[in-house]
């Protein structure tokens, strides 16, 4: 090949690159308007979010939904708020359930689902969603504020191998707290489990859900659903007794504190833990990491507080539509289309089976059932059964409190101080209520401007 050929080739390449852009552009998907979707799902869960978006992008040709991972739930919410202040909010943001109170106070920064439906004419039927899920994200009149996306609920995880070694039957897990304490004892003494019992998310499991299960108010004003002036009341005797039980078990060496928030996640899969309380959505991670037989069971209750337990409350997150200057009606319509798409039974069922989150629609759960998923995966239905135990009451439909993540941390701090032996159960909860109420008053003031 001589130099002339090379030059000609180079010229041809340059010409090809310089072809009118309009010629090539319409064929490229990236040139469709983009709907940005900020989420907090890392690792395999992030992959699943991408699959959901890809499926939507393939199903229509008007827009492209672009998922962007923004860190933890807290970081994602903070980033979205900062972006809104700069006029650059994403179209959609995934907000954890405890951020709901703050997002509801966001006024014109968000378009609630019912507003979005009104503006775009794309209807969402609240009755299609699971009651315990829907109620967490709805206004007191029942209209939906945020779109349920990934919902979980805490369940009890047990190590079947250790259970059998302790002479316990993993098929008949302890149902009451009294039975749990006895089982933990057996796990420690007979199976010499290094950790008889532990928990992730101490506040969510041991306080918020304990209240829901036993139909106890967590805060006044229907747990905050009916007003910003709600006051915390979780220092009532049954809560104190529950914390006391954990303190007693810690002293006896049958309860090991695993840290705040998700810190307790890592302990159970190692295999030296008999019982753990954690989200139902850790199933995928446990299946991957645990080298032993494990099972999920319903959360225990205390029959001396309530004869039969109510539904548990959800965790996880929902999707909020955000506003930005110069955002067009077409963009909002695209967002509504996407929300409609993820609520379809097959999309919902696929998401729930791939991630371990519960289906958020009744039809999605029905589809999974019809496909035989729950028969093939024993225990995967525990979370759904638990969310549908009893009837949803004022005390079990969730919490609607501003700055709830902060209150969760306050409770965990006071619990830690009690575990250190620096205060009793009553003093810990009294102090948490006092500090939490101060936070709520601050939030109330900031909302009233």
């Amino acid at each position: 090949m001589n130099r002339r050929h090379l030059l000609a080739g180079a010229a041809a390449l340059t010409a090809a690159a310089a072809l009118p852009a309009a010629f090539a552009a319409p064929a490229r998907a990236q040139d469709r308007p983009v709907v940005t979707f900020w989420h907090a799902m890392s690792g395999p869960l992030g992959e699943e979010v991408k699959k959901v978006c890809d499926a939507f992008n393939a199903a229509q040709s008007a827009v492209t939904v672009a998922p962007v991972f923004k860190g933890t739930y807290g970081e994602t919410m903070t980033a979205a708020i900062a972006a809104f202040r700069a006029g650059q909010a994403p179209h959609l943001v995934q907000v954890f359930e405890v951020g709901t109170g703050s997002m509801l106070g966001a006024g014109p920064a968000v378009r609630q689902v019912w507003q979005l439906a009104q503006e775009t004419g794309i209807a969402f039927d609240p009755a299609a969603y699971m009651p315990a899920v829907r109620s967490y994200y709805s206004l007191p009149d029942g209209s939906m504020a945020a779109m349920p996306f990934n919902s979980s609920t805490p369940v009890m995880w047990l190590n079947a191998d250790l259970f059998e070694r302790a002479g316990l039957d993993p098929a008949a897990p302890p149902a009451t707290w009294q039975e749990v304490a006895a089982a933990a004892d057996a796990l420690k003494t007979k199976a010499s489990a290094k950790v008889a019992m532990t928990t992730a998310w101490p506040t969510w499991v041991m306080m918020e859900n304990f209240g829901a299960l036993h139909d106890l108010p967590y805060a006044t004003k229907a747990n905050g659903f009916e007003g910003l002036d709600a006051e915390l009341v979780f220092n009532a005797p049954p809560y104190v007794a529950q914390i006391q039980r954990l303190l007693d078990m810690a002293k006896a060496g049958t309860f090991t504190y695993g840290g705040r928030g998700a810190a307790g996640d890592q302990i159970f899969p190692v295999g030296e833990t008999g019982l753990s309380f954690n989200s139902s959505a850790v199933r995928a991670a446990f299946s991957r990491d645990a080298k032993f037989r494990f099972a999920a069971a319903l959360l225990p209750y205390d029959p001396s507080v309530r004869a039969s337990p109510n539904n548990s409350i959800i965790g996880g997150a929902s999707l909020w539509t955000m506003t930005a200057p110069r955002r067009t009606p077409a963009e909002y319509k695209a967002v509504a289309d996407f929300l409609k798409f993820i609520s379809q039974p097959d999309s919902d069922a696929r998401w729930s089976k791939a991630t371990g989150y519960v289906p958020v629609t009744l039809a999605g759960a029905g589809l999974s059932l019809a496909q035989g998923y729950y028969a093939r995966t024993p225990g995967a239905d525990i979370a759904i059964r638990q969310l549908n135990r009893g009837a949803v009451t004022e005390n079990s439909k969730g919490l609607r409190l501003g700055r709830l993540p902060e209150i969760r941390t306050i409770i965990e701090e006071e619990f830690e101080a009690a575990l250190q032996g620096r205060q009793g159960a009553q003093a810990a909860l009294d102090s948490a209520v006092a500090r939490g109420n101060k936070v709520l008053r601050e939030f109330e003031k900031s909302m009233r401007g």
Binding site: T78, S102, G105, A106, V270, E442, K445, S446, M447, G449
Partner: protein, 295 residues
């Protein structure tokens, strides 16, 4: 001794030469600082939809909050412990590395390494050492009868973050101490040796006093380091817990501002911290000026 002064004609060139630094200062310090002062006087929602001027409300609340006052005390303790530990250790190491030993260059290089480690990575290293369930040290400690769980024991948590923070700063101090030691004329030390002064006596009567300018400078830098730059280490190790046992002021600013989105309270705390730094810097300048232009 008279100084030779170089006078530039006019003011354009000096201004031009100063402009980059002035611009950076304005952009990265003055502007955000003004923003913090403004926000510290307001109360608003996180979205910035409504903000109301509340005067010094945020500050009054701060200084009547026992938890904040406890954090101030805790920060002083933390800064003191970190500075003392990292300075003491660095000084010992520098004196040893300055003496004529085999492999001096290797030790010097190895001692500078930790400075290049990012705070969060440093924290992970310490977690691997000290984690109650998976750490390397707790089994050894339990043989000594010490039950180690820094996630539940406030004192142990404080020890953990102090160790991790001090370890990271030793390298920096080491470099300065070593440079300080090398600038001390060998003749003085040798004269002392000929007069029969032992190593300890030589250190306390000659090296240590002559290092004073370096020490003074490092004390200020270390206090500033332990007050501010230890955030990454603490956040990764304990998130300020258990029960706020390791919540220093800068961790609290982050918690209240970024996690809890209480911008007014967080800004007020930042302003208080800023005042603290200004005071510290002022003291440093005075101290150095009094000692002459040794540095």
């Amino acid at each position: 001794m008279s100084e030779r002064r170089t006078i530039f004609p006019g003011w354009r060139l000096p201004l031009l030469l100063l402009a980059p630094q002035l611009l950076l200062t304005a952009l990265f310090f003055l502007w955000p600082a003004a923003g913090a002062i403004e926000a510290s006087l307001m109360r608003g929602d996180p979205f910035g939809l409504s903000a109301r001027f509340v005067g010094l409300d945020n500050f009054t609340e701060l200084f009547t909050d026992p938890l904040y006052l406890a954090a101030v005390g805790r920060t002083l303790l933390f800064c003191g412990a970190v500075s003392l530990l990292s300075l003491g250790l660095a000084l010992v190491l520098a004196v040893l590395a300055d003496s004529a030993i085999r492999g001096r260059a290797f030790y010097r290089t190895a001692l500078i390494w930790p400075y290049a480690v990012a705070p969060v990575i440093a924290a992970v290293v310490w977690i691997l050492l000290l984690h109650p369930q998976i750490g390397a040290l707790p089994p050894l400690l339990s043989r000594l009868g010490i039950v180690w769980d820094y996630r539940l024991d406030g004192t142990q948590a404080m020890i953990t973050v102090i160790l991790a923070s001090a370890w990271k700063q030793v390298s920096y101090n080491f470099i300065f101490f070593l440079a300080g030691l090398q600038s001390i004329p060998a003749a003085i030390v040798e004269a002392a040796r000929m007069d029969g002064a032992g190593p300890l006596r030589r250190f306390w009567t000659i090296l240590f006093p002559l290092l004073a300018p370096t020490t003074g400078f490092l004390v200020t830098v270390n206090i500033a380091y332990s007050a501010f730059e230890t955030f990454g280490t603490i956040e990764a190790l304990t998130q300020g817990g258990p029960a706020q046992a390791t919540q220093t002021l800068v961790v609290k600013v982050y918690r209240d501002g970024v996690v809890n989105l209480d911008l007014g309270a967080s800004s007020a705390q930042s302003v208080v911290l800023m005042a603290g730094v200004m005071l510290l810097t002022l003291l440093q300048f005075r101290l150095l000026r009094r000692r002459g232009d040794a540095i």
